[in-house]
Symmetry: C2
Subunit: 168 residues, 2 copies
DNA sequence: ACAATATAGTCTGTCCAGCAACATATTTTT
DNA sequence: AAAAATATGTTGCTGGACAGACTATATTGT
């Protein structure tokens, strides 16, 4: 009788409150471990790949937009980019219309490396989702993306949405 | 023409490889921020809640099982439990059949506190999922849970599955 | 009984993300 | 022109996570 009077009321559909977080964390952990070994050769691993990918696919106008898109701290992004520049994957060039800012652009080598890694990353993602049927994967991806978009839009800080609403 | 020859092949259904990770991270971040403010009063915040919840709902036989279920390091779990014990939410008692081990049991106060927080956490979860329709929530929860179970089962280390396959 | 093993806890050191404060150069505002 | 704001980079600090070594205790195998 010490049991769960309010706890039972808190359960939505047989789930324990907090299980969603546990599940999310577990999935993310599984994802990250596969991701990590897929991009193990890459400078700075996952972060390095994400930065390079964002630079190529989103073409952010400056470091700030890049950092807030990936939720990476300014100071972290600095040495992250240092490594990528040292590896000749990206370059820092003065921004066209604002000479305070620097635009990060991929080198040819960087584009090539990204293409290679993308194959591996896609394989890693499929490996994670291999237990799901084709239509379930599409469903899950869609729902997660919708949620992610809402969260992203509701973020009080770090929200340069205007810079990333152009899909190729 | 510098574009994406292999990259296009890597895309499964119009997605950029790595986007799943970005989406997952974004969702988890939104979840955590809501979760955090829901259990702000709790000692050690999210971790504290998770430990207490696991203690009550999963009844792990020892600290190791508890720690590996939550993927919390031994050394971290030690001072985490210290705080919860100090707050009179749980107790360390010698395990019944193995007196090396200590079983973590909730106090009456701990059960009461958990019930209170569970209501808030459930509200936080619903807040995150408020943009989705009822059946979409159920669908998403189910898929994520299936994925989480697979990941959990495939974990090389920290896998005392035998200790947590008893659902009340 | 003895040795080997397992659990829990502590301590130490290391690593990295995150934050704040400051410096520099440049833009925008007044 | 002067002042405020912005973008980046640098430095130093802090907190948390994690790994390794070590102790104490208890269990299991021989």
């Amino acid at each position: 009788m010490t049991g769960a009077p309010a706890a039972a009321a808190a359960r939505t559909h047989g789930q324990i409150p907090g299980d969603l977080g546990w599940n999310l964390g577990m999935v993310l952990r599984g994802y990250q471990s596969r991701f990590e070994e897929a991009v193990a050769d890459m400078p700075e691993g996952i972060r390095g790949y994400q930065v390079l990918s964002a630079v190529v696919h989103r073409d952010p106008p400056n470091q700030q937009a890049l950092g807030s898109h990936l939720a990476i701290d300014r100071t972290v992004l600095t040495y992250l980019l240092d490594k990528l520049v040292a590896a000749r994957l990206v370059e820092r060039v003065p921004a066209a219309n604002d000479r305070r800012a620097r635009k990060i652009i991929p080198t040819t080598q960087g584009r090539r490396a990204l293409s290679t890694y993308e194959v591996r990353v896609a394989a890693a993602e499929q490996s994670l989702l291999s237990g799901l049927a084709q239509e379930e994967v599409a469903l899950l991806s869609g729902l997660i993306q919708r949620l992610a978009m809402e969260v992203h839009r509701a973020q009080p800080n770090s929200n340069p949405c205007e810079a990333m609403d152009h899909l190729p």
